[in-house]
Symmetry: C2
Amino acid sequence: MTADQLVLQLQALIGADHARAQGDLSAWEEDWRQLAKGKALAVVSPANTAEVAAVVQACVAAKESGLNVSIVPQGGNTGLVLGGTPDDSGLQVVLSLKRMQAVRALDKQNLSITVDAGCILQNLQTIAAAEGLLFPLSLAAEGSCVIGGNLATNAGGTQVVRYGNTRDLCLGLEVVTAKGEIWNGLSGLRKNNTGYDLRHLMIGSEGTLGIITAATMKLYPQPAATTCAWLAVDTLDHAVELLSLAQKHLASGLTGFETMEQDALKLVEKHMPHMRMPIDVTVGNAFVLLEYSDDESEDRARVRLEILLEAAFEAGLLTDGAVAQNLDQAQKMWDIREHITLAQAAEGLHLKHDISVPSSSIPAFVRQAKEALAKALPGARVINFGHLGDGNLHFNVQAPEGENPRAFVDTCQQTAEHAIYDVVASFGGSFSAEHGVGRLKRHDLAHYKEPVALGMMRAIKAALDPLNLLNPHALLPDA
Amino acid sequence: MTADQLVLQLQALIGADHARAQGDLSAWEEDWRQLAKGKALAVVSPANTAEVAAVVQACVAAKESGLNVSIVPQGGNTGLVLGGTPDDSGLQVVLSLKRMQAVRALDKQNLSITVDAGCILQNLQTIAAAEGLLFPLSLAAEGSCVIGGNLATNAGGTQVVRYGNTRDLCLGLEVVTAKGEIWNGLSGLRKNNTGYDLRHLMIGSEGTLGIITAATMKLYPQPAATTCAWLAVDTLDHAVELLSLAQKHLASGLTGFETMEQDALKLVEKHMPHMRMPIDVTVGNAFVLLEYSDDESEDRARVRLEILLEAAFEAGLLTDGAVAQNLDQAQKMWDIREHITLAQAAEGLHLKHDISVPSSSIPAFVRQAKEALAKALPGARVINFGHLGDGNLHFNVQAPEGENPRAFVDTCQQTAEHAIYDVVASFGGSFSAEHGVGRLKRHDLAHYKEPVALGMMRAIKAALDPLNLLNPHALLPDA
């Protein structure tokens, strides 16, 4: 079979409008950060699960006939590691789930919702809220990312400290396998011990083991009130001690615990001078954005937070602090946190790292990683912020003052990664806490993953996708 | 190689005292319910992970040489589905983890603890409590079951409504693979997106994919106060509505939500007349044991619970209710709940079922399952109780009044299972919510599991254990 014949077949299966091989396909061929533009054999957008299965079956037949085709499943194309865009071979079919957006069922009593994989995260949040319920997954791309992609990459976000990662919110999946079969693993069950947990195997597998077409997700009662504080600390040691204190005082009411070092906020001040800091950035070497959600009332939320802050001041952990007086002030605190990424972009091209270590190791990790980086790349500037409550830091690196950012990024990426990831590894940490592996970090996986784990991963891939049809250049390094 | 030669080799590897083929081995060969007694080739008790790996390697070599040996990993031998005891072939090596009990690390700031697989669950609870922390997994066998077994079977228990199943409490694993390699996946990380989640694949795989030798588990701050209420309802519909109301009012403070139908409590009254019911059993057709944990104080716990109960009475959901006035009264409520199993045993042999459906489907499921059972086995008595908050019921069946229990169990088991499990399946439920599959429910897995899922499970088993060395007669049905 030729590539042209496959395209005709795909068009016959799901309609010519939804299986395109001509025209400008760059919206699917290029990642949103524009790191790499590939060339797709076709972009297909099936309308439902049966069509997804038909597309996979057609590709299986084509591959068995000798055409070296493969499939790259794509959600909202908001990933950060090139896991959802094709290479430049012209032999990869991009399978977009974006047409599949239906809400299949909402069970208020069971606190669960079943949706198609292409449902936009924000829509899911909105649908839950309309029923007085909470779908807690929340991240910067929520307006365009879709739940299938969140699951395929096990997305993290800002509420992990309370509600866990995407996998912790999932009760069941529907998946089209690499053979083109449909596995109906949708389920509203909280308990089910009947064999291997295929759901958790699929979640985070980045489209390499199956194509997630629908999911049943957990919902939660909405908290009665949510409030925030912006807190200045001298050291990251104090930030970690504050985390422990907050966990003890607020328990599961602690719904956010973000940290930013001073340099990250200075960058926001430089590029977004209209944004007002709750506290002067010189007052602390690091800052914590703490979010507390109370199940009773706004009054209690304020009181509980005040008691925590008194204890923290008494323990000498804080140099200053501001409590949001209303939702608008709380939103402004989150806005600052979320503008660090934009401020970094305005400052110029830079190196992103998404690492995790046990939260108890954060201060030592940051000290050692900065030392290692200073030795390897003198003058390089660390912009360090992230989800301290989960031990997850975006330990990013900008070019030295006055150096050309692009030249820095092009020449220093590997050096920076090795310097930082070696320290990460020495703390038992992860070089990809929430972004995944994709095509971008395959070499890191080859270098840092235990060989025994890598061996089991390869065996599983070969068992479930013997033709190597699904996203073959993502996640697993070439053998 | 002969079986005798293998025994000598195992004795050379880990010491003759710890690799026994002679004498009374029934403590390892028979399950604690005495459903089945097998015959082991040997019982080995390695002292550490390296010894576990050496045992597996020796068995791999023996199997490759033509001896049809296999390995049955065993924890506390408290399982309910014959997953941890050998068959009667005399060709299975029981590998007991009970000598491996060390606490390897406790990280208070990271809220994590790393222990050997043979650590007894109650010890883990006690060690956490001594640090002012909570390890929330709690179940009837906690005095003798071990964490490795809890993980291998993904144990549930009484706190799932708040803290999830055992898998939700696990951050990382150390596993000896079917090849005798050691995978060091121990980790205190809350976020790690670097490839397939082998941890979740191993959890719940009942020793068929690898032998769990150590684990890093989550710890939580201890709640400030815990209190209980014993509530009478007219119908299970009201019990489910009460669950929704409690989730809304108490949010994550709801740490237990058990339900018992009247007949279950009457059985306790009959066989344990010294136990005093908090409310006369004729006042409700079903009863709820609700546990609430508060992060602030005993006073608040009482007030929050009272507000909920007022709302429930106003909504017409309760016919009566009693609130525990102290820890002793709360414990007595839990004692009644936990004595149902003993009362059933005193009443005579009976059929146990461990099913789950979405909690919203519980009332309809119970109605239909009772109808189906009455048709299939007239006079058979349903003793229905369980973890309603998780949609999990122990829908047990006693012989009709006056009939011989053993004769009933021997002749009616399959009929009862089909009657009940067919209704379970029609609600998208599970025939094994928390007990697992083992050797006892393999035929149910063959019958009720989706063929596509079963196919993937078989492919994974063949990929990770190509010699079919690990627990070959548990979980997966013969092909």
